[in-house]
């Protein structure tokens, strides 16, 4: 009986701890280094995206929740075309062939970076996929999300808009440029 009661109490405690945490705000800490390559082999760092809000998504092609949120990330890119937001999806610890096999089925217009040895995954202490970091225009981590979301609506869009709102009005003016997926 005692064991049963303990179990019931534990169940309540444990299940309450599994509720979706949503976006976790961070105290504007400097982001870890990013040293990756794009699909053409060109080196990329966070400095390449300085001055813009950055959505940095860690994913893998074998991870169903990662793939489930990709279309909404692409829709976000289209919706935010011309605004100072960069979406970067960093594939964790897979080969270029594995990544390209997925991209041949799913057309995405934002940059895909490679982390074949998982060194960026470790530097950013990513333990679950997908994990997404939202960086402000100064390269500081402002929000973290573990797990998937619909990026072009609701809380996700609100958080991104709040970071964009911190930028001078001039930076938020729509620039018309590339918005077609590769």
């Amino acid at each position: 009986m005692k064991r049963l009661l303990t179990t019931c109490v534990m169940s309540l405690l444990l299940t309450s701890g599994t509720q979706a945490a949503g976006f976790e705000a961070r105290a504007a800490t400097a982001a870890p280094g990013l040293k990756a390559q794009d699909l053409s082999g060109a080196p990329k760092t966070l400095a390449d995206y300085r001055g813009k809000v950055v959505l940095l998504n860690f994913w893998a092609s074998w991870c169903p929740p990662c793939l489930r949120e990709m279309p909404s990330m692409e829709q976000l890119r289209v919706k935010m075309a011309g605004r100072p937001l960069t979406i970067v999806a960093l594939d964790s610890a897979e080969t270029p062939d594995e990544v390209n096999a997925y991209l041949s089925r799913m057309k995405l217009g934002f940059p895909i970076l490679l982390d074949p040895d998982g060194s960026n995954t470790k530097r950013w202490n990513v333990f679950a996929l997908p994990t997404t970091f939202l960086l402000d225009a100064e390269g500081r981590v402002r929000y973290v999300l573990t797990g998937p979301t619909e990026w072009d609506e609701g809380e996700a869009l609100g958080v991104i808009e709040s970071l964009l709102a911190e930028l001078p009005a001039q930076a938020n003016q729509v620039e018309y440029g590339r918005s077609t997926p590769r």
């Binding site: 299940t15 800490t29 870890p32 074998w62 964790s92 040895d117 470790k122 950013w124 202490n125 996929l129």
Partner: protein, 233 residues
């Protein structure tokens, strides 16, 4: 007559009390000299695990299959593994060794934590006779983005032989070296094997790949292959 009934009831109660010291497990008897203790993950035992046990038994490897969440009425969550009575688990390990067979424990995911902690309760000589295979063990206390990982304290595991089997397609794969170091710090003689093209719990995925389906059907062969390669026969 009443006294005789009392005696019978007392005998039954004593038998139950002794049995209650060990967790409920499913046995797949075999005549060979190996006894494999399969401890399912915090998600509970899946049908392919039962099939693998039957296949192993048919090849002479006896299997005792333990589903901790079912045995102790726990929720299917990693944290539940902290509630497993370690002394009962240690007694179960001792009971398996009393069979006189070579005992190999396979613990899946967070079930690695109570299994290792129970092994720490064994006498050093008992522990040295054990072989433990950990499938993608989760031994973290804290694993949060941007924070260094923190590991569970497992107790003294000097002399315990452990082989970690890690599916390549796992967020934990880049972290494997640190986990192996942590085990070695506890005195474990540790080695690793990589399961290529597989994900964690590949035998119970909602959307398995063709390869995962095929591999879940030959889990017995994979385990025997690993045991042979490892030298823990």
């Amino acid at each position: 007559m009443r006294f005789f009934r009392f005696l019978l009831l007392s005998g039954w109660a004593c038998a139950f009390a002794v049995r209650a010291d060990l967790p409920d497990y499913q046995a797949f008897p075999a005549t060979g000299q190996q006894l494999l203790l399969w401890v399912a993950s915090e998600r509970g035992r899946a049908e392919p695990e039962v099939r693998a046990a039957q296949q192993l038994a048919a090849q002479g490897v006896e299997v005792w299959s333990l589903d901790l969440v079912n045995a102790y009425f726990l929720p299917q969550l990693p944290g539940s593994m902290d509630a497993v009575p370690l002394q009962e688990l240690a007694d179960w390990l001792r009971a398996s060794q009393a069979s006189g067979k070579r005992v190999i424990v396979v613990a899946v995911a967070r079930a690695a934590a109570p299994v290792l902690r129970a092994a720490a309760l064994l006498e050093p000589a008992e522990r040295q006779r054990l072989c433990v295979i950990l499938m993608y063990p989760n031994l973290y206390t804290v694993a949060e983005p941007l924070a260094a990982p923190d590991y569970l304290d497992l107790g003294t595991l000097t002399g315990l032989s452990v082989r970690v089997l890690q599916p390549r397609r796992s967020a934990a794969t880049p972290w494997l070296p640190g986990l192996l170091d942590h085990l070695a710090l506890h005195g474990v003689l540790v080695s690793q094997g990589m399961l290529e093209n597989l994900r964690e719990g590949y035998w119970a995925r909602e959307t398995p790949t063709e390869f995962e389906i095929a591999e879940s059907r030959r889990m017995d062969a994979m385990l025997l292959r690993e045991l042979n390669a490892w030298g823990c026969k």
